[in-house]
C-alpha cells in the first residue's frame, strides 16, 4: 500500500517535468519560427502591404524618403588619431568616409533611402538575413577603426539626413562623446564565455556532495516502488548540487575577471541556435581591459580553466571588440 502511494508520488514530479519540458519545447520552436523562420512570411506580408497602397497621408516623411540618400553613422573617433583605410559600408555602393568637426570624427557612409528610409528600414530590420548582413558590415567598420585610437561605437541605425545633421549632433553631444573617448582610451573590450558540460558537473556533484553519496548508498539497498522514489530523490538532489556548483563556478570566474578588468558587464547566456556553442553557457561577460594587460588576461583565463578542469569548464575568449558594452550606460540625448 505504502509502496503504491510512494510510486504515485514518485510519478507526479516526472509527469510535471515532462509537461514543462514539452511546453518549453513548443515555446522555443515558436520563438525560433518567429525570429528565424519567418523571413519568407515577412516578405510576403511586405508585398501585400505594398500592394495595398498606403492611405493618402500626403506629406508623410516616408513619401520624402522614398528617394535620395542619407548618412549612416558608425562610430566617433578623436580627430588626429589614425584613420582606417578604405572600408566598405553597410550599402555596397558607398564606402566609409570620415566627417570631421570640432575635434571629433564620425565615420559615415551614404545609404539609399529606398532601403534605409523609415518604412523600408522597419521591414528590413525584421528580416534576419538583411539584419545579419548590415550588422556584420557595421561591425567590420568598427573593427577596422579599432586599430587607431579609442572609438565610441554607435548603435545600429544611427542615421542622419546629411552632413549638417551629423555636425548638429556633434555640437549637441560632443562633450559626452569626448568624455567617453577619454575613458576608453588605451582599453579594449573582450568577451568571455564560460561553457560547461552538464555531465561533468553531475559527476562532480556525485563525488563531492556527502548528501548525494549517502542517498546513493541507500538506493543500492532498496527495491520496488521505494527504490524508484529514492532514485527520483537522488536525481533531484544531484540537480540541485549541479546548479550550486554551476553558480559558484560562474561567480568565481566573473569575480576574478572583474578584478582584472577596468569594468565589466554580464550579459544573458546566448541561445545555441544563434551561437552554435557546445555545452551549457554559464557566463557571458564583457570586460574592459587595459591594452597592456591583455597577455595577463589570457594567462588568467588559462589559470581559471585549469583550476576548474574537473568540472569540465571551458573559457572562450572573443575580441578585441569595439567597446559596445561600455558606452550604453551613457545614452545620449533622448530620441
Amino acid at each position: 500500500m505504502t509502496d503504491l502511494a510512494d510510486w504515485a508520488r514518485g510519478r507526479a514530479p516526472e509527469l510535471l517535468e515532462r509537461a514543462e519540458r514539452e511546453a518549453v519545447a513548443i515555446l522555443r520552436d515558436a520563438l525560433l519560427d518567429a525570429a528565424l523562420g519567418d523571413r519568407a512570411r515577412d516578405r510576403e506580408a511586405g508585398r501585400r502591404r505594398a500592394r495595398q497602397a498606403p492611405p493618402a497621408a500626403a506629406a508623410t516623411p516616408s513619401k520624402r524618403e522614398a528617394q535620395g540618400h542619407a548618412l549612416w553613422a558608425y562610430c566617433v573617433l578623436r580627430a588626429g588619431d589614425p584613420l582606417p583605410g578604405r572600408l566598405p559600408g553597410v550599402h555596397p555602393d558607398a564606402p566609409v568616409e570620415p566627417l570631421e568637426d570640432d575635434g571629433l570624427v564620425v565615420l559615415t557612409s551614404r545609404i539609399p533611402l529606398a532601403e534605409f528610409g523609415e518604412e523600408p528600414l522597419r521591414e528590413n530590420l525584421n528580416d534576419l538575413s538583411w539584419l545579419e548582413r548590415v550588422a556584420r558590415a557595421h561591425e567590420s567598420v568598427l573593427e577596422g577603426a579599432l586599430t587607431g585610437g579609442p572609438i565610441v561605437p554607435l548603435r545600429l541605425c544611427t542615421i542622419f539626413t546629411d552632413e549638417a545633421g551629423v555636425r548638429t549632433m556633434l555640437a549637441r553631444d560632443g562633450r559626452q562623446l569626448r568624455e567617453a573617448l577619454e575613458r576608453l582610451d588605451g582599453r579594449r573590450e573582450w568577451g568571455v564565455k564560460l561553457l560547461v558540460d552538464r555531465d561533468a558537473l553531475a559527476a562532480a556533484a556525485r563525488e563531492r556532495s556527502p548528501e548525494v553519496a549517502a542517498l546513493q548508498d541507500e538506493a543500492a539497498e532498496r527495491s520496488g516502488g521505494g527504490a524508484y522514489m529514492h532514485e527520483r530523490r537522488l536525481e533531484r538532489l544531484v540537480g540541485e548540487v549541479v546548479d550550486r556548483l554551476a553558480a559558484e563556478l560562474a561567480d568565481d570566474v566573473h569575480a576574478r575577471l572583474g578584478d582584472w578588468a577596468a569594468d565589466s558587464v554580464l550579459n544573458p547566456p546566448q541561445n545555441r541556435e544563434l551561437s552554435g556553442h557546445e555545452g551549457e553557457m554559464l557566463l557571458n561577460g564583457a570586460y574592459l581591459v587595459e591594452i597592456e594587460r591583455t597577455d595577463g588576461l589570457r594567462r588568467l583565463l588559462h589559470e581559471l580553466e585549469d583550476r576548474h578542469k574537473e568540472l569540465g569548464a571551458r573559457l572562450q575568449l572573443t575580441g578585441p571588440w569595439p567597446p559596445y558594452n561600455f558606452v550604453s550606460r551613457e545614452a545620449g540625448a533622448p530620441a
Binding site: 519540458r21 518549453v24 518567429a34 516616408s62 545600429l156 542615421i159 530620441a335
Partner: protein, 124 residues
C-alpha cells in the same frame, strides 16, 4: 599561450572544430542591437519595432537561461522528447500551428492598429 583549444581568437585564426570560425551572429547582434551609444539621429526609426525585434532576439539569446530558471533542462532531453512517440509529436505540431496562426493574427492586428494610429508618421 595558444595551448588551450578553447581560448579561441576571432577571425581567420580561429581553431577548426569551433562553430564560430567567423564571429558568431549572436555575439554581433547582442552588441549592435542592444549596446553601443544611442544618439538621436535625423531619421527616427520606429522604436516600437526595434524593441519588438530586440525583445524577440533577447528571448532567443536568453532562452536557455530562462529554461534553467524554470528548472528545466530541455537541452539535455531533446532525445527523450523525440522518444515521446507519434502521439506526442502530433500534439506538438498542432500546438505549433496554433501558435503560428496566433502570431500571424497578432501581427496583422498590430499593423491595423499602427495604421489607425498613424505610427511611423509624425508621431512625437
Amino acid at each position: 599561450m595558444e595551448g588551450s583549444r578553447y581560448l579561441t581568437p576571432r577571425g581567420p585564426t580561429a581553431l577548426p572544430g569551433h562553430p564560430d570560425s567567423a564571429t558568431n551572429l549572436a555575439d554581433i547582434l547582442e552588441r549592435v542591437l542592444d549596446k553601443g551609444i544611442v544618439i538621436a539621429g535625423d531619421i527616427q526609426i520606429n522604436l516600437l519595432d526595434i524593441e519588438l525585434l530586440t525583445i524577440k532576439l533577447r528571448l532567443l539569446i536568453a532562452s536557455v537561461d530562462r529554461a534553467r530558471e524554470m528548472g528545466i533542462n530541455w537541452w539535455e532531453s531533446d532525445t527523450s522528447l523525440q522518444a515521446g512517440g507519434p502521439a506526442d509529436m502530433e500534439m506538438l505540431d498542432t500546438e505549433r500551428e496554433q501558435l503560428e496562426r496566433e502570431n500571424r493574427e497578432l501581427k496583422q492586428r498590430l499593423e491595423r492598429i499602427e495604421r489607425q494610429l498613424g505610427v511611423g508618421e509624425a508621431s512625437s
